[in-house]
């Protein structure tokens, strides 16, 4: 069982990454991440006239999770439909969430590496004091963010069974996630109803927790944020698990599996 999971994960990793040579890999995976981080931090540098930019570097490094978790994991069934494998997957006895998970393994690994590279490079450019970071807290915040973002990715992937507009859904969600993460501006600037919405989005708590890891300790506030993020992640996994059963049935009944 586990062997099959990892052999499928390896196969998917080769499908996703194998077509790129080293230059393309660096440009596509690392280059986009670094330039995205640079763009937002440079805007922040200009608007704040160069105050300490650590919070923006940290927040935007976290926000990069969006690209791997939302687009790659969330787009799993969409890609399977495009490759003509969706029907075969639906009629096979295997768990559909497992299919999404093994598809996401390489995304998580690559995502972790690119985010780390972007954080280190961004940190060096904008003078982040790495010695001030409590790395234990920081790593916990990263893991919590990754856990919740993967959960959201799983949840979103399911919708590909009933809609052919997944790119629209995923792009909208990705931008909303950046808005509600608080990576670029405090969510308190948004209207009150939007602040409530931010609570159901990943990264909102983990970005705040990561910022507390700058010279901080395991305070009650940090623990609360971390637990909140993990609870949200669990809610997404649960919702994905329930939803796949329902949507699978709707998709078969409405014959939307191969809808382009």
């Amino acid at each position: 069982m586990m062997q099959r999971f990892f052999s499928q994960a390896w196969l998917n990793a080769k499908v996703h990454q194998g077509g790129l040579n080293l230059t393309e890999f660096l440009a596509y995976r690392v280059g986009i991440s670094i330039s995205t981080l640079l763009l937002y931090v440079l805007i922040a540098q200009y608007t704040t006239e160069g105050v300490d930019l650590t919070a923006w570097v940290v927040g935007n490094a976290f926000a990069l999770c969006v690209y791997e978790c939302i687009f790659n994991i969330g787009g799993t069934f969409n890609a399977e439909r495009f490759n003509g494998r969706l029907r075969a997957i639906m009629v096979s006895p295997t768990s559909k969430l497992t299919v999404i998970m093994y598809n996401g393994i390489s995304s998580i690994v690559v995502g972790f590496l690119t985010i780390s590279a972007a954080f280190i490079i961004g940190g060096l450019i904008f003078g982040v004091q790495f010695s001030d970071i409590n790395f234990g807290m920081f790593v916990l915040a990263i893991l919590a963010a990754a856990f919740t973002c993967v959960g959201l990715g799983l949840f979103l992937a399911v919708f590909a069974l009933i809609t052919d507009s997944m790119y629209l859904v995923l792009n909208t969600l990705a931008m909303l996630l950046i808005i509600f993460s608080g990576a670029n501006f405090p969510v308190s600037q948004l209207p009150v109803f939007a602040q409530y919405i931010a609570n159901i989005f990943p990264l909102y708590r983990s970005v705040a927790a990561a910022n507390l890891s700058m010279g901080g300790n395991f305070s009650a506030e940090f623990q609360q944020l971390l637990l909140g993020e993990i609870a949200l992640g669990l809610a997404y996994y649960l919702a994905a698990f329930v939803l796949i059963k329902v949507i699978e049935r709707i998709a078969i009944r409405k014959a939307t599996l191969e809808m382009f």
């Binding site: 393309e24 608007t47 507009s165 629209l168 792009n171 808005i179």
Partner: protein
């Protein structure tokens, strides 16, 4: 078939096809709205000049760039995937006119995203839009569109031979917004990167647009002359690239390899 007829037909077909894609609807309607919110909130405590220059015009230009560049580069990919790239390439109608028609079609639609961004910024933030020189703004906008079209043609030609169009297309979006100074002044970038920015026509078009808003940031001729020169250089480069691609595609025969 007359050139104007090829151009017009290609443009109309392109507009119909593009508008039917949901992803384009995102780029046209939803993307500008969300980009305006991000920029608007980041510039919330900045000056009124900055708000107009980097939120109103910035989000508009960014959206316009996304629509034109993504669609034009993506169209080559779509034609290849539909197995029609070699057909339009070897058709009696000039491939350059077909491609130009596509880019014109995308530009007409993309203008919607530019004006929508301005509308969203005005609606959401109720900031007064103060422009010092409206005629110059309109002229600068027209020049910016021409600059974007020339860049799109160049990029579309560049990607014709590659089978990894989607990858390169995605690699262009953010770096271009970054180095051309769509949403912050390029003077914020290191000097070495600024020299690189000067190569591209959109950099000068953006500065000219900003000059029409503030009339204090940069001079008119200091931006107009480099804009015209860089546009001419990229137009010549695009023509040269077409000759190479036309020859290579016949030698390699890889146009249909998806």
């Amino acid at each position: 078939m007359k050139s104007s007829s090829v151009l017009l037909t290609s443009m109309l077909v392109q507009m119909k096809q593009t508008f039917s894609r949901n992803m384009f609807k995102f780029t046209l309607f939803v993307g500008p709205f969300l980009t305006t919110i991000i920029l608007g909130e980041m510039y919330r405590h900045s000056t009124a000049d900055n708000f107009v220059a980097y939120v109103v015009l910035g989000s508009g230009l960014w959206s316009l760039w996304n629509c034109i560049a993504f669609s034009s580069a993506g169209d080559i990919h779509r034609e290849r995937y539909s197995n029609t790239l070699s057909i339009i390439f070897s058709a009696p109608a000039d491939f350059r006119l077909i491609l130009l028609g596509k880019i014109f079609g995308n530009t007409v639609l993309s203008m919607g995203s530019f004006f929508l961004s301005i509308f969203y910024a005005t609606l959401l933030y109720r900031h007064p839009i103060i422009v010092n020189n409206w005629p110059l703004l309109i002229a600068a906008l027209a020049l910016a569109i021409v600059a974007f079209i020339i860049m799109s043609i160049f990029i579309a030609y560049l990607l014709t031979l590659s089978r990894k169009t989607t990858i390169y297309m995605n690699c262009l979006e953010i770096p271009f917004a970054l180095i051309c100074g769509f949403v912050f002044p390029i003077e914020n970038l290191p000097q070495g990167v600024q020299y690189f920015s000067w190569i591209f026509p959109p950099t000068w078009a953006v500065r000219l647009l900003r000059y029409s808003v503030t009339e204090t940031a940069y001079g008119f001729w200091e931006n107009f002359i480099p804009l015209v020169i860089t546009m001419a250089v990229f137009a010549v480069l695009a023509a040269w690239l077409y000759r190479i691609i036309f020859r290579q595609s016949k030698i390699l025969g890889t146009l249909d390899m998806a």
